[in-house]
């Protein structure tokens, strides 16, 4: 088989990236799966078993007793955060897309600045601002709404994950707004104008004209947001409580355990998380693909 020069050159250009990603990723998956199956020949463990998965899914061990609650909590926090930030981003982008140049640039800059702030910085700011004696509670006290810190609602480190959700909604809106804005600014407003001339109201226009237009970008962005939140550790660790906790916190806790069986369970949980997000990604791609 003869390979022509342009083809050879093209694959040579792709090789470094494919090699680095492929090797690091492949090796990590291989050892991750081996470890979750209890197969670690260099420490003498050669018996392959599904024990870790059985105890995680079956609820026999401490990790297993917490697994389903953690899965539910993770899905709740991730799902509601993704949904709220996508809806808010869509409306916000529509409102912002008509702004004139200087105002538009200022908004872009503010959105980018927010995006550049590390998640940990944002989480710490929320922790300080929303605590029962935080700045917001002080403002409420100054307005006479509350008298003591205890009267302020528990918004961070709360059982329902409100702090984590507030964090992600506020931090992911800029990310999605920038994606939607990029589409709206390049597509122009011709469709919206036609719809208006035909008598469509603003809400109708968002639903029937803008949403279909930005859907490919918005759904891809929302999928990234979902995967990111579902797998994230720092923010739920900083803004969450010890029960219920998200899968990522549960997985790392068990993985760092000295007991090898516990480590295998932690590894199994993180691989189950991988299956959930990759499965969802394939599903979204499929739905998007069949619509076109």
């Amino acid at each position: 088989m003869r390979v022509d020069r342009p083809t050879l050159r093209r694959w040579l250009m792709l090789t470094p990236a494919l090699l680095v990603t492929g090797v690091l990723f492949g090796v990590s998956m291989y050892y991750g799966i081996s470890q979750s199956l209890g197969y670690l020949p260099f420490i003498g463990a050669t018996r392959v078993s599904l024990d870790a998965y059985a105890s995680v899914l079956g609820g026999a061990t401490p990790a297993g007793r917490e697994f389903w609650a953690a899965l539910g909590f993770s899905l709740w926090v991730t799902g509601i955060s993704t949904l709220l930030s996508a809806v808010a981003a869509l409306l916000l982008a529509v409102a912002l897309s008509h702004r004139r140049r200087p105002a538009h640039q200022a908004t872009l800059l503010a959105l980018n600045a927010n995006l550049a702030l590390p998640h940990m910085v944002w989480a710490i700011a929320l922790l300080l601002l929303l605590a029962q004696s935080g700045l917001i509670a002080r403002i409420a006290a100054a307005l006479g709404l509350i008298a003591t810190p205890a009267e302020f609602p528990v918004l961070v480190r709360d059982q329902a994950g409100i702090g984590i959700i507030l964090h992600y909604v506020s931090k992911e809106i800029p990310f999605l707004v920038l994606i939607v804005l990029a589409v709206l600014r390049t597509q122009g407003h011709a469709y919206a104008e036609v719809a208006t001339t035909l008598g469509a109201g603003p809400w109708m226009r968002v639903w029937r004209v803008t949403l279909p237009l930005v859907w490919p970008g918005l759904s891809a962005g929302a999928l990234l947001v979902f995967a990111f939140i579902f797998g994230a550790y720092e923010v739920p660790a900083l803004l969450g409580v010890s029960y219920p906790r998200v899968l990522a916190v549960l997985a790392l806790d068990y993985f760092l355990n000295a007991d090898l069986n516990r480590r295998a369970e932690g590894m199994a949980i993180s691989l189950i998380m991988t299956v959930v997000v990759v499965g969802l990604g394939l599903l979204v791609r499929r739905i998007d693909g069949s619509e076109r």
Partner: protein, 278 residues
Amino acid sequence: MARNAEDKLVDGDGFSRWPAYLGYALLYLLLLGPVVGLVLYAGSTRWFFPDLLPVTWTFETFWRQLSNARTQQAIGTSLLLGGVVTLLALVIALPAARTLGLERFPGRSLVLLLLFLPTIVPPLATGMGLNIIFLRLGLAGSLAGVVLVHLIPVLPYTIFALIGVFVRYDEGYEQQARTLGAGPWRILWQVTLPLAGPGMAVAALFAFLVSWSQYVLTLLIGGGRVITLPMLLFAAVAGGNPATIAALALIFAGPPLLAIALAARALTERTTTVGQQY
């Protein structure tokens, strides 16, 4: 009716304007307000409920954090790590992004799928999988090991940003330069870099930010021996007082905000955005 509709379009988007102004004010407050909150906390001493503002102000906490040897060491490690990762990511990503941005070929979507898989798979899972083998290879606890593992989340975003640059790149200019007798290096310096330079700078900046913000991967591979700023910050939240935590958080937020300010023109002039998440 038609006239009415036209007026509305000139005005804005047809939503009434009043809530819109309120909305903008709220938007800026939400986007940047918490940073102002951090500044308040970092500058406060003995700030008790229900005082709205600190009674006395001081920069002392901030300076004490900044002159702390551990903090300085962590800043150095974070900068070195981010710099090396960014450089490596650019060298690896540039040829791939150029090919993916300029050409359509069989297997392209499969390549994209593989390169972007790390943005979907939790970094926790990748880090845990690599933990044991890096331990065996002696890479765990070393800067080199952490550089390698940072490349996993950094590469896809760098490639993604650079594809955006090369999609709008016209190879014709290079061909013209070649026809006029320019060698490959001259073409790189005088044609490619001036054309793609600003976009590459933005990609580099975001590559740096992804590495700068990493916590879990550094923890799993650095094993407590590679101490970056996020590690210090996480430890501080567990035991520090609000002023210390806020000061450290501001130090951590400084370089990203500075970088955005430096790249302000490139970021606002372009209609495309660096799809970014870290």
